[in-house]
């Protein structure tokens, strides 16, 4: 991985004299910092029209993550988690990691801009697109559980994600949903 090409210390430069925030990434030359609550409100206001925004951001994040992986063949979960977490963290979107429960793979998104229900559609669209682009495996995502400072998203096929959304909307706990899912026949 090209981790040394992307040191965290110089990833973001705040130029207070010009009121600019520069990202040391090839995809973005400049950033504007806004409070996370503002971003969450804007995303909530977009409603179902949030998908293009999530897709655009996901493409940028995935591009950076792929570059951080630097052509690593068949990267491990830790390496992918590092690359995506770094790309997200450079944008103030928190960090992430993967968890595996049996065959079910989940992504633990720590410190996202928001965790409320209005953010879930954006989160699932973003995560699914990023993971799909980085791994080359077409993936969908669904929010499995929410905790104080993060989200746990299930990564899988669309039918399984639909089941997860349905059970989560009913208030079922994440482990219970996974148990139901894993109890079924896997291909």
């Amino acid at each position: 991985m090209a981790t040394r090409l992307h040191p965290l210390a110089s990833a973001v430069t705040v130029d207070l004299s010009h009121g600019r925030i520069e990202l040391k990434t090839p995809s973005l030359a400049r950033a504007v910092a806004v409070p996370a609550t503002w971003l969450a409100r804007a995303i909530a206001a977009l409603g179902e029209g949030v998908d293009p925004l999530a897709k655009s951001l996901a493409e940028s994040v995935a591009k950076d993550a792929v570059m951080i992986l630097d052509g690593t063949a068949d990267p491990t979960p830790e390496e992918v988690a590092y690359s995506i977490a770094l790309a997200l963290g450079q944008r103030g979107f928190g960090t992430c990691g993967f968890e595996r429960f049996g065959d079910a793979l989940t992504l633990l998104w720590n410190f996202p801009p928001a965790t409320d229900a209005s953010f879930h559609r954006f989160a699932t669209a973003l995560v699914a697109k990023v993971v799909s682009d980085v791994t080359g495996v077409q993936t969908h995502a669904a929010v499995l559980s929410t905790h104080a400072e993060g989200l746990t998203l299930f990564l899988g096929a669309d039918p399984a994600c639909a089941l997860v959304r349905e059970r989560a909307a009913r208030g079922d706990a994440g482990p219970q949903i996974l148990a139901t899912l894993l109890g079924g026949a896997s291909a």
Binding site: T76, E79, A85, R100, T139, G184
Partner: protein
């Protein structure tokens, strides 16, 4: 000379001597207030040049010519004028110095030898500090925390919520060095393993894959990577997850 002339001369001498005494007071500005207050009359003397006779007499206050004729006037005027100026100034200055000296010098000198008595008092809080458990953990405590944290990482579980504040700080430090996302006690509990009836012993354990910096020496300290078998690629894990289908 007639008695009238002598009387006039005496009166003139008395005036002149009294006036000439005033210029002696002028060169003492610091003590001006007491001088001006004590002799308000001589105001008009400064602009008014004294007569030639008076100058001569003033330059020689103790001269032989004036001595026999106006001793009473000269004696009273001369000592009175310098006395408030010179003596007061000289007396005041030493008084100020003398008063300041004991305050500045005497106090520290008197207290300096006493720190011998104070030193034990300084040591007392140091002795009490360990009893009240300072926030800094001792080396044994740190090593215990290290073991607990390393064990929790190796097990793939979140840090137990029973850590104290000092240990929690140490957890963050260690986690940063390892390159993992900072585990906060009790905030991200790992969900329990789902219980199923399928017979796949190797597939039924949960794992957590967090972002890890490729720093081999630090990773070796925690012995996290060494405890695990070679991890599968994310792509293969993702393909398995995508292959899951809901029952029915």
């Amino acid at each position: 000379m007639s008695s009238d002339v002598i009387a006039r001369l005496e009166s003139l001498l008395g005036r002149v001597i009294a006036r000439r005494a005033v210029p002696r007071l002028v060169p003492a500005p610091p003590v001006a207030p007491p001088v001006v207050a004590s002799s308000p009359a001589p105001r008009a003397i400064t602009p008014e040049p004294p007569r030639p006779e008076a100058r001569v007499e003033a330059r020689r206050p103790e001269g032989p010519a004036a001595a026999p004729e106006a001793p009473p006037v000269v004696i009273y005027a001369a000592p009175e004028a310098p006395a408030p100026v010179v003596i007061e100034a000289v007396v005041e200055a030493p008084e100020a110095v003398v008063e300041a000296a004991p305050v500045v010098a005497a106090a520290p000198v008197a207290e300096a030898p006493k720190p011998v008595v104070i030193e034990p008092r300084v040591e007392e809080p140091v002795v009490e500090a360990p009893k009240t458990s300072l926030p800094l953990p001792g080396p044994a405590k740190i090593s215990r925390a290290d073991d607990r944290i390393a064990a929790s990482f190796a097990a793939g579980a979140s840090v137990s919520p029973g850590l104290g504040d000092d240990e929690a700080d140490h957890v963050e430090t260690l986690a940063f060095r390892v390159g993992r996302a900072l585990p906060k006690p009790g905030q991200v509990p790992a969900p329990p393993l789902p219980v199923t009836t399928r017979d796949e012993p190797g597939e039924r354990r949960s794992e957590r894959f967090t972002a890890s910096l490729p720093s081999a020496p630090i990773a070796a300290q925690v012995a996290d990577a060494a405890a695990r078998p070679a991890p599968a690629s994310l792509r293969s894990l993702l393909q398995r997850s995508v292959a899951l289908r809901p029952r029915g």
